[in-house]
Symmetry: C2
Subunit: 331 residues, 2 copies
């Protein structure tokens, strides 16, 4: 069977460009014993993929040059030579960036049909787990806390905002542009919104929206956002450091120059990687199913049609055009 | 009775200069009911005093202009009109920067004669409590951990190094200059030493002394030291943010530009202020007396003679000339 796949051909310098990749046609072999053939339906776009395009050692190895890239995907089994899977099964894998693949059964995980298929890549997948871990395990968000979420209209951010509100927190979110402000205010029902593109000072804007300070900061952005959160933090505020998208494509990274606030206010800043906490998945999914059933959690998503659009979808993560979880509908 | 005192006359811009202060003679009234008259014997010099010379709101209020500054001091009661104190009592107060004072009894705390008087300003005072809290409460240092301490030859640093070794940690300390290296190696018996003035790259030096990475960083310096610690930290390392002396006198503060390491390694950075944890004093003193009795904890100190020398003593904190706790012997 024929398939197409995205390969990394060259390590990007700054923002990835088309010449860093190739979009290749390949033959996919039929499955032999212990293997399964899958047609991908959806794949997710994740800022952390930028790290794997670089050579630097991180918590996951870099993508290999000349080979198909990887990433979380949901697909449907089309042929199986393994007793654990049958045609029609919904499966999760990390073998995105390709249309059809054949792989050992051990690389697949079944997913239920009780949620929309792409929810397993969003609020019920690593995206949701990331929001849940950051808020409740790392930052220990409590009812009545004031929470600030940067990139609040993004995949992780939009889940963090919803589940924090479901837990009784006051939530302030930042994003860029009028369309996202409307989304944060009208769809996510946030208590305060900040259009970082329209504010001369993020610190002043945050102090205006959080006149009593913030107790928890969920950082997806770093840079000036982190600096504003340090400035407006209350004593003993907790910062969940989840991502710093402002820092990934820059060759001149910048630290928070008011980091001494962490001392004077006794702040705790803690980084986390959801992949290291998969043991919490069951507790997380129980919460997610309850919130989803109660109508407190829905998937905000930006869908790009067809695998050929994947590179544009990926770069859209950084140009700020996406709303909610950025997905590519493949099949 | 006549006394002399240091007053802040102008808020310093950068490094404090003589014209920012006056050294005034005053009359000290005899104590009336409920008051006690004290002759200061020792006072301590503390980098955090720099913060109080500025106008910015912090965890303690700024010094008032035209009035005597304050700071921890040990003195002897010379006259008492309060039943709780008698001539000859050793007392702790925050009324340093002056020779003799009369104050309400409530501003004094008695101290024992079982330790050298100035130890109450050093390893048995806030200095020691700071080291103890940072290592054991904030960073949860465990036996076998590799610890990095910046400004290791300073007041807090030299206590942190000693008590961490007493708990079975491998300790690497940084300081500047050959005299301090000899002190860290020969007196404090550290496992690794770094002369930051002699190294082209602090990160490379730390990686050399800690080839298996660091588990805990006790930060007294900030800036390039914090950056090196982030770079060499092991997964889930804990950073106790105690002070950032490199940042206090600068008008262009700099954040750690590799702060994203906190995410990829799941680091925890936590600031603390010992003054907020005085409820831990008894537990701390029990440890301190045991370590002192076992010969595992001694006071390293740099003594300046006479209150007139106090300003030079203070600036010595920042020019790196002091070794151990910087004290002024007043009486």
């Amino acid at each position: 069977m024929r398939s197409r796949e995205w390969r990394l051909e060259r390590r990007p310098d700054g923002t990835p460009v088309a010449d860093d990749f190739s979009f290749a046609e390949v033959d996919v072999p039929a499955p032999v014993a212990g293997e399964v053939q899958v047609r991908n339906l959806w794949m997710t776009m994740d800022p952390a993929m930028r790290g794997r395009m670089s050579e630097a050692r991180s918590y996951v190895p870099p993508f290999e040059l000349g080979r198909a890239m990887e990433g979380p995907a949901i697909g449907e089994v089309i042929a199986s030579a393994d007793p654990g899977f049958a045609a029609g099964d919904l499966v999760f894998s990390r073998l995105g960036w390709r249309e059809v693949f054949t792989a050992p059964a051990a690389r697949l995980e079944k997913r239920g049909r009780d949620l929309p298929p792409q929810a397993w890549l969003g609020f019920a997948g690593m995206t949701g787990l990331t929001a849940w871990l950051g808020l409740f395990q790392v930052a220990q968000l409590r009812e009545g806390d004031t929470l600030f979420v940067s990139a609040a209209s993004g995949g992780v951010g939009s889940v963090a905002c919803q589940i924090a509100r479901a837990r009784g927190a006051r939530v302030i979110g930042s994003a860029g542009g009028a369309r996202k402000m409307a989304f944060l205010r009208d769809t996510l029902k946030l208590d305060g919104v900040i259009d970082y593109k329209a504010e001369a000072s993020l610190t002043k804007a945050l102090a205006r929206e959080a006149p009593d300070g913030i107790d928890v900061y969920f950082d997806n952005v770093g840079g000036e956002h982190l600096r504003a959160a340090l400035a407006v933090a209350n004593r003993r505020a907790r910062f969940a450091l989840c991502g710093m998208i402002s820092q990934y494509n820059t060759t001149t990274p910048e630290g928070p120059r008011n980091i001494t606030q962490a001392i004077t206010k006794e702040l705790r800043l803690e980084g986390f990687i959801a992949l290291n906490h998969l043991d919490r998945m069951d507790a997380f999914l129980a919460d997610v199913r309850a919130w989803h059933a109660a109508g407190e959690l829905t998937q905000a998503e930006t869908v790009h049609e067809g695998l050929a659009a994947a590179l544009d979808a990926f770069n859209g993560l950084f140009d700020g055009s996406g709303l909610g979880k950025t997905l590519v509908r493949i099949g």
